[in-house]
């Protein structure tokens, strides 16, 4: 690691993508992720890359589809309502087995919602990132440094499995500033023999497509894709924990909320309640077995989100009834305080006693 800089989350996402050899950014501005596009607009022309502000989110994601088909490391970035517009294109990218990076810096919803931080697109990211049987790799950073690290990882893993990846952040992470550094060297993308780069009359044409004329052919393709999803589930799960070793109460949270929960764990411990934190870093694949294993050692679980309760579904599926799971959430752009979460943890302890 080299020189440290003080960076906004959104800028760090953009700079990390550039360092990871991405030279094609297609976007459309929306608060609170506009700095990603603004940074790209300043930097890309200086390094021979493409920054293109499309006429809409729909256009931008389809430009990503085109660039990715030609083998380029391509990306787009938006915030909640903009991601909804992109979902058709995301489904086409997944169906075409193309790697690409989609950044979602979440804000309050549904609808036009608001511009303050939120985590209420969890279901969209992990369950229905567009129509059809498809998944995205979903990475959930909780610091500006992790935003850098996971952008690089998202590109590399996406290309390894020919699968689109989403970096799911929230407005707080996008707007806050922290010191970051970048790896000295990031490997160049591996060659993509499937890319549409012209045959040079030396090979048969490659075809990138998401339309199949017979149902049996489509089923076969989808089944093969799901075999790859199984490999992803085996190999690509990431998670982190904090003070779980002796914890009786486990808080589960991701993204900026996990940072707040970490502070809440400290407050609860000062009040004599042994709390710990489980933090999924990949939301798909979800750290299901790892969470189930940790759940064996605690008596209660509290899932905290900036939503009405979405990831809590995955927590309950993982735990499968072996441990009571409760939920605490704030929504609409309200960021919970460490104190209010600590109160929830101590209330669980009091209820058990």
């Amino acid at each position: 690691m080299s020189q440290k800089y003080l960076m906004k989350g959104n800028e760090a996402l953009a700079e990390a993508a550039i360092r990871a050899h991405c030279r094609h950014f297609f976007g459309y501005p929306i608060t609170p992720q506009t700095e990603v596009a603004a940074y790209m607009a300043k930097r890309m022309p200086k390094i021979g890359g493409t920054y293109l502000q499309a006429e809409s989110e729909v256009a931008a994601i389809n430009m990503v589809l085109g660039a990715a088909s030609a083998g380029a490391r391509a990306m787009t970035s938006s915030s909640s309502p903009g991601i909804s517009l992109k979902t058709e294109g995301i489904s086409y990218i997944a169906a075409s087995d193309l790697p690409a990076l989609i950044i979602n810096v979440m804000r309050g919803g549904p609808g036009l919602g608001g511009i303050q931080p939120s985590q209420s697109d969890y279901w969209q990211a992990t369950r229905a990132p567009g129509h059809g049987d498809a998944q995205l790799l979903v990475y959930a950073p909780s610091s500006v440094q992790e935003m850098v690290d996971l952008v690089i990882r998202a590109f590399e893993t996406g290309e390894k499995y020919r699968c689109p990846a989403m970096l799911l952040a929230d407005g707080m992470l996008g707007q806050m500033m922290e010191p970051v550094s970048f790896p000295d060297e990031i490997a160049l993308p591996a060659s993509k023999p499937w890319a549409l780069t012209g045959t040079g009359e030396k090979r048969r044409p490659n075809i990138i497509n998401s339309l199949y004329l017979t149902p049996s052919q489509l089923e076969e393709i989808v089944r093969k894709r799901f075999e790859r999803y199984e490999l992803i589930k085996q190999n690509e799960v990431l998670w982190d924990s904090y003070r779980l070793e002796d914890a009786e109460y486990m808080v589960v949270a991701y993204g900026a909320t996990a940072r707040i929960c970490k502070a809440a764990v400290e407050i609860a411990r000062e009040m004599g309640v042994k709390a710990g934190l489980f933090r999924p870093v990949t939301l798909w694949p979800y750290p299901t077995s790892q969470l189930a294993e940790c759940a064996k050692k605690v008596s209660r679980i509290l899932c905290v989100e900036m939503s009405m309760g979405q990831m809590v579904d995955d927590v309950r599926l993982a735990v499968n009834g072996t441990c009571p799971v409760s939920f605490y959430g704030r929504t609409g752009g309200i960021v919970p305080t460490p104190e209010e979460i600590a109160q929830q943890i101590t209330a669980l302890a009091a209820a058990k006693a």
């Binding site: 800028e11 303050q116 806050m176």
Partner: protein, 241 residues
């Protein structure tokens, strides 16, 4: 108490700079410092770009110290509408040495565009040296990491503001990781930038602990050292806010 440059006690102080370079922290601290000197300062949050982490968020605390805070009509709300209240004009117009006005402007040229709205008054105040327009610079921000990059950023701000900068504020920092060597290393860079722009350096910002970690010799190398307590905190940090 460290000496304040003459520019920072003018009736109107406009704080501009690259986004994330420390404008809001500096503007908040300057307001507190002036209040501590017995003045009745007002702080105007003119940021029409940044949705979060803005000086308007700190208005309750500042009010307790006798500092009036004004901001865009929809600041902190869910509307992205950069509307500014009409009485800001009057505040600028009637600013004086005992009731100075600090304008905390949005980042970059995009943020500085808001100053265009006040151009006739600001230009008049600048002509009689009743206004200072300072630009914060941090060399630990990637897009202004070198003097020539900082000059480019400052020139685009001046052009959007239609107003010339009068001084530079060296705000080089890495948040909690800032150490005396980082600040001392930045002195040569800010001096080079100042020379290229023909501007004085009116303050070098750091937290009190960084200042105290410097030897007396090192402190001599930092004219107009300006200590401030970090005010812009994250929800999980133990701020005093």
């Amino acid at each position: 108490m460290l000496q304040l440059n003459e520019q920072l006690i003018r009736p109107v102080v406009v704080v501009t700079g690259h986004y994330g370079s420390g404008k809001t922290s500096f503007a908040l601290s300057l307001a507190e410092r002036l209040a501590g000197m017995g003045k009745k300062p007002s702080l105007v949050d003119l940021d029409i770009v940044n949705p979060y982490f803005r000086s308007y968020d700190y208005r309750e605390r500042l009010k307790e110290q006798g500092i009036q805070v004004e901001g865009p009509v929809y600041a902190g709300m869910n509307l992205d509408i950069p509307a500014l209240p009409a009485h800001i004009d009057g505040m600028i117009e009637t600013a004086g040495e005992d009731h100075p006005v600090i304008l905390d402007v949005g980042g970059d040229d995009a943020g500085a565009a808001a100053l265009g709205r006040y151009h006739p008054i600001l230009e008049r105040l600048a002509e009689t040296k009743r206004l200072a327009m300072v630009c914060t610079v941090s060399f630990l921000r990637p897009l202004t990491a070198k003097p020539d990059l900082a000059v480019q950023a400052l020139e685009s701000i001046q052009s959007a503001a239609r107003l010339k900068c009068t001084g530079l504020v060296n705000a080089t920092n890495l948040a909690g990781l800032t150490d005396p060597q980082m600040v001392l290393h930045s002195m040569a860079q800010i001096d080079e930038t100042a020379e290229k722009m023909h501007l004085p350096v009116v303050a070098t910002v750091m937290t009190p602990d960084v200042w105290q970690q410097m030897t007396r010799d090192e402190q001599q190398k930092v004219p107009f050292g300006f200590t401030l307590t970090r005010r812009v905190m994250l929800p999980w940090e133990n701020g005093d806010l």
